[in-house]
Amino acid sequence: MQASEKQKIIEVSNLNLSFGKKHILKDISFYCYEGEILGLMGISGAGKTTIVRVLVAQLPNFTGKVICAGMDVKKSGIKILQKIGYVPQLESLNLYYNFTALQNVRIFGSMFGLSKKEAIEQGKRIFQVLEIPEDTWKSKVKDMSGGEKKRVSIALGLINNPEVLFLDEPTTGVDASKRFDILNYLRKLNREIKTTMVIVTHDLETSNICDKVVLLRNGQIVDFDTPANLIYKLPSNGEIARLKIDELSNKIIETIQNKDYVKYVLRVGKNDIEVYLHDINNNIKKLVDQLVDNNILVSSVTRGEASFKRYFQIRMQSIEQSKNEV
Amino acid sequence: MGLKESFSRIIKLLYKEFSLIKGDKRALFMALALPPLIISAFGFVGVISDIEGTPINCAVITYDSLGYYYPQYNTTYYNSTWDSVFINMFNNGQFPRLKLKIFYNASEDPYSMHEARLDLASDKVDLIILIPAEFSEAIDLGFPAIIDNIPDGSNIETIKDSLNLMYTATNIFVETNNITPQINMNSRPVYGVPQNANEIMAWASTISLPFLIIGSCLTLTILSVVNEKPIPRLLITPAKKGEVLAAKYIANSIIMIAQCVLTVTFASIFGLYISGSIVDLFLALFAIGFYGMCMGLLISTISDTETQANQLLVAVFLIMILLSGMFIDISNMNIVLQVIAYGLPFAYAVPLISEICFKAKGIFTNPTLFWNFMGIIIICMVMIFLTYLIFKLKRKEV
């Protein structure tokens, strides 16, 4: 395997953390190779941010083994901060708004012991990768656009050429088109600077750029794999049937759901459903025939790939259901 | 016809204002609890402390026993009775508040004055009393007998105190020893604080009541506009700018009235002296509180950020205090400063409160007081107008 030649830059095994009697993180184990993008995903309160706070040595009272940027967090403590970068969710918590972008770079660079020249050089290099317009470099951050602020914020995270860059919800609060841009920039950075990235997010589209994802729920790991592998775990290896049915009703959905070869049905539009069935090659025809027999008008049938978002929905739904059944 | 809708909207906006004020528990606490607490502190100090009884430590030096030489008889006349009488009275504590700490006899110790001055410099004593040579002779022969009174001048209060106390002391000395003829002044204070009232509280109240009410109304309202992020959103509903402001004035006025009532109640518990009508006192306080509120809302409307509003508050408050007449009598100020002082509330508020409390004047029966009262109201009106104008002109974007 290609990956085994690489170093594990993050390795967490059997991480447990409690605040008083509250067990926050339960037996967390995952790892990540150098140069990869790791997504920590889950709904709010799942424990994503807590894991990052352990990794950046802000919560020392954990048990288990935690290696970050090649250092044992327990032993190194806050020394690790020299080797990592961090991009908070809110720019106001990261940038001095009254300073120019380059001033910000200089200040944060100096904290890592960079000289003014080094910091500015490194800053300009990243600004160029992130395509921040050169004429704004010397204007105050408060006068920049939202997208530019975000990119300056990301650049600050990279100022010390960190081995691992942590990004907290980089796409939250950004509109759809910008979100796409930011993900593109992150991928570009990952390719050009080869920084390992850990992205904490509940935005499932981010999985598109992740090499691995950790799915979390209530402080426990639900899944840890590549997004492709996870989708592959769905019935028929993630292949789905999209049906357009005129006058779609809950009753019809229920009928489909009750077929023994149908695993899940998701309504995705007014007249559209996605059907996850076993052995799609044989069963799709069977399903359509049965529907037609029942006088249900199927206006179109297409086959396609399930998205990660769908995987997440189905996975969480099934956990909820199994819990309810117990 | 729009009036009715406008009215009902104001009622709803009022509800919003109260919810906002209630939501900020700390600000509400500051507004309602702090003035009564501080006024109670004054009252308490007035009840327990004995500032009048604080002694002034004295060093007394006498040069009197050195004798007096009569050239025409070629003899030296020794008479030192009067200085020892004076010193004995001093030592027996017959002079109020003056405490004989160190005594020097200059006829025995030629360095007395030098030592006494060292005592003064090192704060061992606050006052040197020097009985000159020929003190007794002057009294016996009918010349004015002069005692040198050398207070520590670095504190003007000590100078004033020593002047008053020595004046009393010499009177007692003359009277007790029946040195005639005396011409005395007999003082008859009127409009003062009666014996049974809390004196410190009474003096403090003329300045501290307006000060507290204005201060807490300012802090209550200073962030009211600048802090309310959804105002721009609110303005794209049918609510009008004037209505939003009106609701703020009304809601805060109600808090302010509660605050005045609480403060006066607490002050009364500790023996606030009010010789006039309590209704007039409340009216005056309401006007003063209203001023604080108008100023607070004006600042809040002018400011772009919280920080800016807070800084303006500090600056405005400082200038108000400096020009209040508390430190410098307004008539002693430069003419420009006087003009500013009369734009500030204390120039009106202090006479209002003191005339009502001490002289029992009524706002509506005494023209001077009425115009003091109207002065505050007129300035408030100007401020409300300005606030409205700025609020209207300021572009608020969602």
Binding site: R53, V56, K79, Q82, I84, Y86, P88, Q89, S92, N94, L95, N98, F108, S110, M111, G113 | T54, R117, I128, I139, G142, P144, A145, N149, I150, P151, G153, I156, I159, K160, L163, N164, Y167, T168, T170, I179, P181, Q182, I183, N184, M185, N186, R188, V190, Y191, G192, T219, E306, Q311, V314, L318, L322, F327, I328, D329, N332, L337, S354, E355, T368
Partner: protein, 387 residues
């Protein structure tokens, strides 16, 4: 060391970009000094507007006496401390009531006091000329407006002057015992007395107020600070950097106050450098108080309220408003440990007494600063900061 230096540079950048606060910092003290510099008055002897009413009958049991009434009135008219307007001299032949003097006065005279036109009414009783003639004790009365604290505290002394003028006029000094004031360490009369008598309290309070105000927001208002703590920047250095840079700004401010007050006629008997040292020491203590407030507070609003609370508290315990001697022993000790109390005393000692710096008080201030600074660092280290 390198990190500390960079943090200091960052603080300066921040302070300089916050122009509005910076302007306030220098403007406030100047405004204060200008207000006091442009005002006059404030000496320890006051003048009072007076009216006079005489009931002197100049006769007794059919015997008429020398007219001492007009001599007395002239003494008042000539007095420099009691301003008697000749229009306000009234004579009455009857109605004098020893026990209810004010109530028995004619209404127009009473009204003068009620309306505040005069502060005092001098009353010459019916038997005045008689007593002076017979060389027995004479008594005059004065009714004053006691609702004015200033009048109450200094009218007695001012009333002595016309009496002396009268004694001079009748050339009889028997029974005169005078306490003649010659204050030591006072402000010379040719200096601006109102500025100088209040200078110690005023300047110390202003320096403390502005320096606390400036620093009270330095930690809470720095949004990116928690993020900064995810770099190798050291927490102790962060607090120290703030202390050092704000102290530097404060030093400039102390210089402005120093030269500003010189320009408006501050009287300093002692060493000028000593005054400057006192200002800077007090300013440093203000910076450390502000830092502590900022480290404790969780929001700007809270810091501001704490600032106002602490400031009122400091002023109350400074000994300037309630004399130290009248406080309980514990409160006195506490008050003596505060930088404001020591600062005011040092300023007075140097400016008016011409003494050199009292090293005990200086070390008290230094200890005060150190304790607060250490407290700030400790609190900052334990402060929960989440990005």
């Amino acid at each position: 060391m390198y990190s500390l230096w960079n943090l200091i540079k960052k603080e300066f950048d921040r302070i300089i970009t916050d122009r509005k606060s910076l302007i306030m910092l220098f403007l406030l003290p100047l405004i204060t000094i200008i207000i006091f510099g442009l005002s006059s008055g404030g000496g320890y002897i006051s003048t009072f507007d007076a009216a006079l009413i005489s009931y002197d009958s100049q006769s007794w049991n059919g015997t008429s006496y020398n007219n001492y009434e007009s001599t007395m009135i002239n003494s008042y008219l000539n007095s420099s401390l009691i301003n008697l307007n000749s229009n306000l001299v009234f004579t009455e032949s009857s109605g004098f009531n020893d026990s209810k003097i004010f109530n028995s006065l004619p209404p127009k005279v009473k009204l003068l006091l009620y309306n505040g036109d005069v502060a005092v009414i001098v009353v010459i009783p019916p038997n005045f000329s008689e007593t002076v003639n017979k060389s027995i004790n004479s008594v005059l009365y004065y009714v004053y407006d006691a609702s004015d604290l200033m009048t109450t505290s200094s009218i007695g002394v001012s009333m002595q002057e016309p009496l002396l003028l009268f004694r001079v006029a009748i050339s009889n000094f028997k029974g005169v015992v005078l306490a003649f004031p010659s204050p030591e360490y006072d402000v010379p009369s040719w200096y601006n007395q109102i500025l100088n008598y209040s200078a110690a309290i005023l300047i110390i309070i202003i320096i403390l107020g502005t320096s606390i105000n400036l620093t009270a927001l330095s930690v809470v208002s720095e949004g990116p600070l928690p993020r900064m703590m995810l770099t190798p920047a050291n927490k102790t250095n962060t607090v120290l950097a703030k202390f050092i840079s704000y102290s530097a700004i404060m030093t400039v401010q102390a210089l402005v106050v120093f030269f500003g007050s010189m320009a408006f006629g501050l009287y300093v008997l002692g060493n000028l450098i000593d005054i400057l040292i006192v200002l800077i020491l007090v300013g440093l203590s203000g910076v450390s108080i502000g830092l502590l407030i900022s480290c404790i507070s969780t929001s700007e609003q809270q810091a501001n309220q704490l600032y106002i609370g602490v400031f009122i508290f400091l002023i109350l315990f400074s000994g300037a408003f309630i004399p130290l001697e009248s406080m309980p022993a514990a409160a006195q000790m506490f008050s003596n440990s505060l930088s404001i109390t020591n600062g005011i005393q040092l300023f007075l000692d140097v400016s008016l007494k011409g003494m050199s710096l009292d090293l005990l008080r200086v070390s008290f201030i230094l200890i005060f600063i150190l304790v607060l600074l250490i407290a700030s660092i400790v609190i900052f280290r334990f402060r929960k900061m989440e990005v």
